[in-house]
Assembly symmetry: C2
Homo-oligomer: 182 residues x 2
Amino acid sequence: MDSLEEKTVKSETIFEGKIVKLVVDDVVLPNGAMSKREIVKHPGAVAVIAITPENKMIMVEQFRKPLENTIVEIPAGKIEPNEAPELTAGRELEEETGYKTEDLTHLVSFYTSPGFADELLHIYLAGDIHKQANPLQADEDEFVNILEVSLDEALQLIEENVICDAKTVYAVQYWQLRNAIN
Amino acid sequence: MDSLEEKTVKSETIFEGKIVKLVVDDVVLPNGAMSKREIVKHPGAVAVIAITPENKMIMVEQFRKPLENTIVEIPAGKIEPNEAPELTAGRELEEETGYKTEDLTHLVSFYTSPGFADELLHIYLAGDIHKQANPLQADEDEFVNILEVSLDEALQLIEENVICDAKTVYAVQYWQLRNAIN
């Protein structure tokens, strides 16, 4: 669909941070008019759906500064330079929860907010998870509480807006669907 | 969970654009150490799941500058100042697709990327949709093609990474789940 394409005539980097980079592009629209696009560049991230033998999903409670609130999410983290997403997934699961897996299945990848950001999030399903005696340590600026929640509890946490982010809402719905078709 | 909270000691606005605002906060971590948080502020958005009487989901094909690619999404748009999300939902559906509805049910709201952005996306289910003879006009810098896709086609488009954003992947899974439990 070439007719929808927007051609860049100028690209200005406004900010380069530790996590995000902000760029403003001047573009030519399909009708020839000019516009500006504000673009947040992000290295990408992974998230892990991990269900225990007791049929609980492993989640982490974490303060999220953009929301000024503590919310409950599936384990996730951003991809380090040159790191394969599957390695990130195993590493983040272990760092954040102390659980290890050698069995990761890629379920889906999606852009979290394609209107203004290029963040691509890869979601994996972890099979055969087991507690590590000496797990990898979390990032020094990351503090989380680990939770194990049943499907009913997860649905209740969505009702209460405690589970309130795209990847975790997706993960709970994935769990519902898996139960419904099995 | 007060113990996970990060206290702001300084907040610097780096950029204020038409869509996003970028802020860098200096924070005190739960262990007393200092860190920086890069935060993208966004007015919030809505998306609409609209299924025709022929059991096709209405989608739009749109060029997304952050991805440098044309992708297929459910109708969506950002909330205007002081606009109730439900009004945004009805307006965006009509502007982008020419379909109108008086029947919107709120399904879920989620933060698209809580690690670095405060964008909250509200998803509505549209009932009783009907083509408008003279629909509202789209934004002058927005160009879309309208598609109607079956569930099988939607699943195929996910396989092909043409449907590849959080809200639309969620919407297709919602549709699968609704079919599975009905």
